[in-house]
Amino acid sequence: MTLLITVFAAVSVTAFWYCRKNDEMQLLTLCFLYWGASIMWFVDAVFEYIGDGAAFFSPALEDMLNDTYLGLSVVALGLVIWIVKLLITDPKGSVRMALKKD
């Protein structure tokens, strides 16, 4: 479930990045963040499948809920990392302008 949620997040962010004409929002960073994690969890899933066999595809409800919660938390953490990086690098100069005004 964590892998699925991260893959959906990666695909959505990549589509958003493709629609934009420039990368002022630094969406590429978020793309790489989610794709990197997705690839690593995919490998984890393959090893789990090798170990558990077909049981891998029928997890217990409690495990699925926990994995969903983890997946959503991971997506949230990725977004937090991205927004912090965006505000620090400040490519549009909005933060600097706001601070100068005050």
């Binding site: 790489f32 989610y34 794709w35 990197g36 090893f47 953490l77 990725g78 990392i81």
Partner: protein
């Protein structure tokens, strides 16, 4: 257990190489006058930046997952698997199998991505040249 440590080590190496390549590219730009041909190619430092972002991003999110599952703790020895010799052996086995596979797969995906990006850029360049020749 600690599979993310292998891609983390690769990320450190890649980031170091990226900084060195970026420095040498900046020096090369300063020393040459005609940069027209170089500008239409994707610099190696930029490609390495993609790989380091993928590795660092994946490692951070995997570290979070390991903390979630109680495999990484904020006190010594930081990895719960290291509290017993059997656990340490299992951890090393996982690092040498899953960890290495993670690092290899991310690198392979990055290599394919670089190849695709290069072919897209060269396709656009050749289209622009053909259009210019027609005009």
């Amino acid at each position: 257990m600690a599979c993310f440590l292998v891609p983390a080590a690769e990320a450190v190496v890649v980031k170091t190489v990226e900084k060195m390549v970026k420095k040498s590219e900046a020096e090369a730009v300063l020393s040459t006058d005609n940069n027209e041909e170089k500008e239409i190619k994707i610099p190696l430092s930029r490609k390495l930046n993609w790989l380091s972002h993928m590795l660092i991003g994946g490692v951070i999110l995997l570290l979070f997952e390991h903390i979630w599952h109680g495999e990484v703790v904020p006190w010594f020895p930081f990895l719960t698997a290291m509290s017993s010799p059997d656990g340490t052996a299992a951890m090393l086995l996982e690092m040498s199998t899953a960890g290495v596979c993670m690092a290899v797969l991310v690198t392979v995906v990055w290599a394919v991505m670089c190849f695709a990006a290069d072919s897209i850029v060269s396709r656009k360049n050749s289209k622009a040249t053909a259009k210019g020749a027609e005009e």
